[in-house]
């Protein structure tokens, strides 16, 4: 029917068909805005900003699994915790220089992801989720109870100057840079053939296998990548506060990250970022405004979910504001 | 004869995407009407609009048995006497065959035939043999039989059959045609979506050709075959 199209014509058509595009018109002002807020406001806003940035990465790493790999993890905090402890212990126990410790944290998280992931990808759906939960709880318990090594439930504090001794603002800028690069890497992965395979494996494993994809291996790859980036987030968080606690690998943080991804918008790359912004802002302001903050936060969550059942990114897409929120 | 079903200028969409843009369809009481058309033109969507399955009706009228179906939920439509066999079968995978057949709400059929489990087993003996098997593990054809059988138990006045022969071995397909003919004799009206019109030729009264979300032609089966131009225009792969 059609005459064979010109190669550039083909690639133009392809990119219009496979777009999870970066909307530079939104991203660049957002980055500038973040930096301006950082430089012009007080210390606690800077801390909040830094946390939002860190959690944007954490939630996005989970989002890689959930939205693209269709692997719902109920234990993603494990890798956040491993990143934080990997870094912290590298400093306190191994006495490594900071540069090395900073790398070690995410690597430990990735290793944890490899170990646990190898078990978890043998299962699917809710059972996958539950095994990730079990793995995270085991991680949490080890951190909680291994006093001699991890400091137990009171965590590790005071081992170094928080933020490498940088000023809050400078550290916020550093975090912004690291997270932006990481998010870019995640985005690159999602758009690459690997990302396509991850999505394929998640959507129909039987179809994917019949095409020749070793589904477990792809899923394990995704798991390790997600763990690695969660580890970067955990490491940054430990540096920010100059401490590490077992809670970093706890159920609470897992739930937070889930809420972020879902609130932000499943099936959208930007979902994790939106979620981190919204949920962290709520978490920062609601408790300081009302005593019954859990009640109010619960109600707000309810309202958000009921008005935007596709998450915030879905809402944005509906308003036609953002191409990133596309699919 | 009064119309059992009359659809006028029906528009319907999935989310934002409109799939039907003007379906007109009338089924007289006791009549068997066939929907034909290429893939993706809206045959299934038409049926789904009648029972409000997944699709949202955005315009037009659907009158069934003298009353409008507007604003009804699927189960209410079905309780008024519409039976539906979806194209993708949708058997309850974790239920046994027997349990699948116990799902439909038993209705009193009035003067129509009161289908019960024994009777559908007579129609499809293979189902009886496997009555304790989980529906999800049955072969494709077996599932199709079950799906048809299940809808019969709702004792419908109007039966919507979306590609009922799909996946059935020729012999069983033949039996289904016989059953359709029998149902017709009992006064059940039917809308059948069918690709292989010749299978259904024996019992169909009229044919509607659907194209791009609209009904573009209707007439008797013989009329359809008399005019090869129609088939060329609307049924050929583009």
């Amino acid at each position: 029917m059609n005459a064979p199209a010109h190669p550039t014509e083909l690639s133009r058509r392809w990119s219009s068909l496979s777009g999870i595009d970066i909307n530079w018109k939104l991203v660049i002002p957002a980055l500038i805005l973040a930096e301006v807020i950082n430089r012009t406001t007080g210390a606690s806003t800077t801390t909040l900003l830094t946390e939002i940035i860190i959690f944007a990465l954490f939630a996005s790493s989970l989002n890689l699994l959930m939205s693209f790999g269709h692997m719902v993890s109920f234990g993603h905090s494990a890798y956040f915790g491993l990143g934080a402890y990997g870094f912290t212990l590298a400093v306190t126990k191994a006495g490594l220089p900071l540069e090395a410790a900073v790398l070690l944290g995410p690597l430990v998280a990735a290793l944890g992801g490899l170990l646990f992931g190898a078990l978890c990808v043998r299962l699917t759906e809710i059972y996958f989720a539950m095994l990730t939960l079990a793995c995270a709880q085991i991680t949490y318990t080890v951190l909680f109870q291994w006093y001699d090594f991890t400091g137990g439930d009171t965590g590790i504090t005071g081992f170094m100057a928080p933020r490498f001794g940088l000023s809050g603002q400078n550290f916020a800028s550093l975090t912004l840079a690291v997270v932006t690069l990481s998010l870019f890497a995640l985005w690159w992965i999602v758009r690459s053939p690997l990302g396509l395979s991850i999505r394929a494996a998640g959507q129909d494993r039987f179809r994917a296998e019949a095409l020749g994809l070793t589904v477990r291996r792809v899923q394990l790859t995704a798991f390790v990548i997600a763990a690695f980036f969660a580890g970067i987030a955990g490491m940054l968080y430990a540096v920010l506060h100059g401490s590490a606690f077992p809670d970093y690998a706890g159920l609470g943080l897992t739930l937070d990250s889930l809420i972020m991804v879902v609130l932000g918008g499943l099936n959208s790359f930007a979902g994790g970022i939106w979620g981190a912004i919204i949920y962290k802002l709520l978490g920062a302001f609601v408790p300081s405004l009302v005593h019954e903050w859990e009640l109010v936060l619960g109600l707000i969550l309810l309202v958000i979910v009921l008005t935007a059942p596709k998450g915030f990114a879905g809402l944005i897409a509906r308003l036609g504001l953002d191409r990133k929120g596309g699919r | 004869m009064t119309a059992m079903l009359s659809i006028s200028n029906l528009h319907a969409s999935y989310g934002k995407a409109e799939a039907l843009h003007g379906i007109d369809l009338t089924v007289e009481t006791g009549e068997v009407v066939c929907l034909i058309g290429r893939n993706g033109v809206g045959k299934s969507s038409t049926m789904k609009s009648i029972v409000r399955d997944q699709i949202t009706v955005t315009g037009g009228e659907v009158v069934f048995d003298g009353a409008s179906l507007a604003g009804l939920r699927p189960y209410e439509v079905v309780r008024r006497g519409v039976g539906y066999v979806p194209e993708d079968r949708r058997v309850f995978a974790s239920l046994s065959v027997l349990e699948n057949l116990r799902v439909p709400r038993p209705v009193s059929a009035g003067d129509r035939r009161n289908w019960n489990v024994e009777q559908v087993f007579e129609l499809f003996p293979q189902l009886y043999d496997y009555r304790h098997r989980k529906a999800g593990v049955m072969s494709g054809g077996e599932q199709q039989m079950l799906s048809i059988a299940r809808s019969l138990i709702t004792c419908p006045k109007l039966l919507l059959l979306d590609e009922p022969h799909e996946g059935l071995a020729p012999k069983i397909a033949e039996e289904v045609v016989t059953a359709i003919a029998a149902l017709k004799r009992e006064g059940v009206s039917m809308v059948i979506s069918e690709q292989a019109l010749n299978t259904i030729r024996r019992c169909a009264d009229r044919v509607y050709v659907v194209d791009r979300g609209m009904t573009v032609w209707n007439g008797t089966v013989d009329g359809f075959y008399a005019d090869p131009e129609i088939a060329r225009k609307y049924l050929m792969v583009s």
């Binding site: 006093y147 439930d153 965590g155 504090t157 005071g158 506060h241 005593h291 | -």
Partner: protein, 385 residues
């Protein structure tokens, strides 16, 4: 007028420590009102700024930082959980703002994690366990003691300290290896069975909250309180919530500041009345500690004639303070530990109250329980390694 003196309360208002912290905060509010009625601290109004650390260390560190940097508080307090306490203490040390604890009580804050802007305005966990050991040691007929503790820092520290002191005092006593139910465990039957199996004369249990209540309630079905004695943390809130479910005898409780056991000075009576009027219930140990801790800070400020951090830190070890918990409370400069007393007594139902109280109480002055400076120094050195 001068700017107000700001008290930053970064407490565990939600989460596992909520109940204790709320009692503490209630009393702190009374204290702030009293101070303001008297003209404030150094003539400056006192202002309370409250944040919820959610019983999460990182959240605690964050709100502590926010209070110090943005709210410019003069002193930080409020924590209950030891883990949050350590996290906030680190921030206090980094930003050099005084911080004192009135509930959270691990001794690690005095040892390797000590920083000079911190003090514990209550007996720490180790001291309380020592008090229990002293009390138990006097029960000559108790020869076998079983031990258990909540499976976290506080439970482990307490059991270890108790065993260590008791062994010293009573070499003839057999101490059974401890068992550690997980934090918040409420299915205590297996632990009860295990403990009873050793036929102990008493069981020392470093438990609180849900685990403790469950132990007492479930124990009765096993004849626990006919077969043995229980020595455990028994603060006023626990006594109240147990109410009629408290066994008639054989329960011994460690407490920090049970209102009925305090010397009933006019101040104490007035405080109890005021608290009851405001909150329709008796003040708990946590309330009294919270109030006393605040007043101690006010006294230190008056003494130093300043709320400047270094002046305060100097003052706390110079003054001797007379509070609800008795006379002569002071903080040891070496590790920031206050010589606060501990109480041990027997839970008994009495007609005056609709909940059991402690009787046959023995009060242990802080000095008798505090770990010596040498020992602390040695522990610090050991931890460095």
């Amino acid at each position: 007028a001068d700017a107000p003196v700001k008290i930053g309360f970064a407490g565990d208002l939600t989460g596992a420590c909520a109940a204790l912290t709320e009692d503490e905060l209630n009393a702190v509010k009374i204290g702030v009102d009293e101070l303001n009625a008297k003209g404030g601290i150094l003539g400056r109004k006192v202002e309370l700024v409250i944040r919820d650390s959610q019983t999460k260390p990182d959240e605690g560190a964050k709100v502590a930082r926010e209070l110090i940097v943005d709210e410019k508080i003069d002193v930080l307090t409020g924590v209950c959980s030891s883990a949050v306490m350590l996290a906030e203490s680190a921030v206090s040390g980094e930003l050099k703002v005084p911080f004192y604890a009135t509930i959270g009580s691990t001794q690690r804050a005095n040892i390797e994690l000590y920083q000079p802007y911190f003090w514990q305005a209550q007996a720490n966990a180790t001291m309380e366990a020592y008090a229990a050991a002293e009390y138990v040691a006097k029960k000559a007929e108790w020869k076998t003691i079983a031990t258990m503790g909540s499976d976290y820092e506080w439970g482990h520290t307490s059991v270890a300290a108790f065993s260590e002191r008791l062994k010293k005092l009573r070499p003839d006593v057999t101490i059974i290896d401890p068992i550690f139910p997980k934090v918040g465990e409420t299915a205590m039957a297996p632990y009860i069975t295990t403990a009873l199996n050793t036929k102990p004369d008493a069981v020392f249990a470093a438990l609180f909250g849900g685990s403790l209540g469950s132990l007492i309630k479930q124990g009765q079905g096993f004849g626990f309180f006919q077969r043995t004695n229980l020595v455990t943390l028994m603060t006023v809130d626990t006594l109240q919530s147990m109410g009629s479910a408290m066994p008639a005898s054989n329960v011994y409780g460690i407490a920090r500041a049970p209102f009925f056991a305090l010397e009933q000075t006019p101040e104490v009576k007035a405080f109890i009345e005021k608290y009851r009027a405001a909150y329709k219930e008796y003040p708990t140990d946590w309330s009294i500690n919270g109030y006393d801790g605040l007043m101690f800070y006010a006294a230190a400020a008056e003494h130093a004639k300043s709320v400047a951090p270094d002046a305060i830190i100097k003052a706390i070890s110079e003054i001797s303070y007379d509070g609800l918990r008795g006379k002569g409370l002071k903080v040891r400069a070496f590790d920031g530990q206050m010589n606060a007393p501990s109480y041990v007594g027997k839970a008994t139902k009495v007609p005056e109250y609709d909940f059991p109280i402690l009787t046959e109480i023995e009060k242990f002055p802080g000095e008798a329980l505090m770990v010596s400076e040498d020992a602390i120094a040695a522990a610090r050195k050991a931890a460095k390694k």
